[in-house]
Symmetry: C2
Subunit: 202 residues, 2 copies
């Protein structure tokens, strides 16, 4: 059976602690599923794309939506606020600049379709992990998905995540430029402000 | 008075020839104005962000919309098809991989708001040049703008560029993911297919 084994040193544990302290449980679970899917992709692609650092992959995946946490809600789109928060975390951990830059890129670009998939393995795998958890990936078997969702239940993540991004954007419109994922979520919300189900643009 | 001086070796001239052969005149002029604005930004920011390679800045700016040329219209969003075309050009010129990667990034991300501005100087300056030509930049004086637009007239670039991106996307919807610039242009077109002025999402 699948299980979560934190890779490498205790850096991943501290990243997980940070996510646990700051993120909504549905976002945390989504982030952990994203790592498991990204790892499955990494296993099946290692011959194509070279080895990826599993510790950094964990950090990027577990913190990829940390910009939706209230404490990291700044002036920028949530992807970039989150990338900055992860970069600060790694800097405090004393990690080298090239590791900080690659995790920053993976998080900042995780909602950039057709671009993230073409960038470095860490960015590509983080994106593929996110897509897998939203039903848009190949190479994931239904029994893997079931096992992963039993471990980390979905808790209506699409609604929670969409609502959090929209709530941030309503307070600070510069967080949602039109041609961005926050932007299309905000536009859909404005078309139907009373809509209570998952954002139509999710 | 402002004028276009091609920087460095004859690489810029060959990039310009490529753009002239393949791009619509309005897109070509926009690309040249983008370089001039990006250069003005580079002049005023050199103390902040270090020196940028002016040759590569010219290549990135003059080819940033080359994905709208019919000959480079492939399966990916036009920004990425264009980035690949520019990378092929530089590879044929024998340029090193780090230069190819940085021009690729500048072109692929030129429509990514809030992200391109945070990346390397080449990516940031290309983005700022594009924004300046669409009236969204600081540090540009009206007399500079007038001089630049006399040299390279606008030729209704907003309508031409928007229409080209939409036409490509209508033929291959995968070129326009929802949360992308092509995606919001396509969505606006579908709302008002008879609209003849500049795309409402431009």
């Amino acid at each position: 059976l699948l299980q979560l084994t934190l890779p490498g040193t205790d850096l991943p544990q501290r990243a997980l602690d940070l996510a646990r302290r700051t993120e909504h449980p549905s976002v945390l679970n989504h982030s952990l599923r994203t790592f498991l899917y990204a790892s499955l992709h990494a296993d099946s692609m290692s011959s194509e794309s070279g080895e990826v650092d599993r510790e950094l992959l964990f950090v990027a995946c577990v913190l990829h939506d940390v910009g939706t946490a209230d404490v990291y809600n700044g002036e920028q789109r949530f992807e970039v606020d989150g990338a900055d928060a992860a970069a600060d975390f790694l800097r405090n951990e004393g990690r080298p600049q090239h590791e900080i830059d690659s995790v920053w890129e993976a998080i900042a670009l995780h909602t950039s379709p057709g671009i993230a998939e073409r960038l470095r393995p860490l960015t590509r795998l983080t994106r593929l992990g996110v897509l897998a958890d939203f039903g848009q990936a190949e190479r994931i078997f239904p029994q893997e998905q079931t096992a992963i969702e039993v471990m980390y239940p979905r808790l209506n993540v699409e609604r929670e995540l969409g609502n959090r991004v929209v709530r941030q954007a309503l307070a600070r419109p510069q967080k949602a430029p039109a041609s961005s994922w926050p932007g299309i979520l905000l536009a859909a919300h404005k078309l139907c402000p009373q809509w209570e189900r998952v954002n139509a643009a999710f």
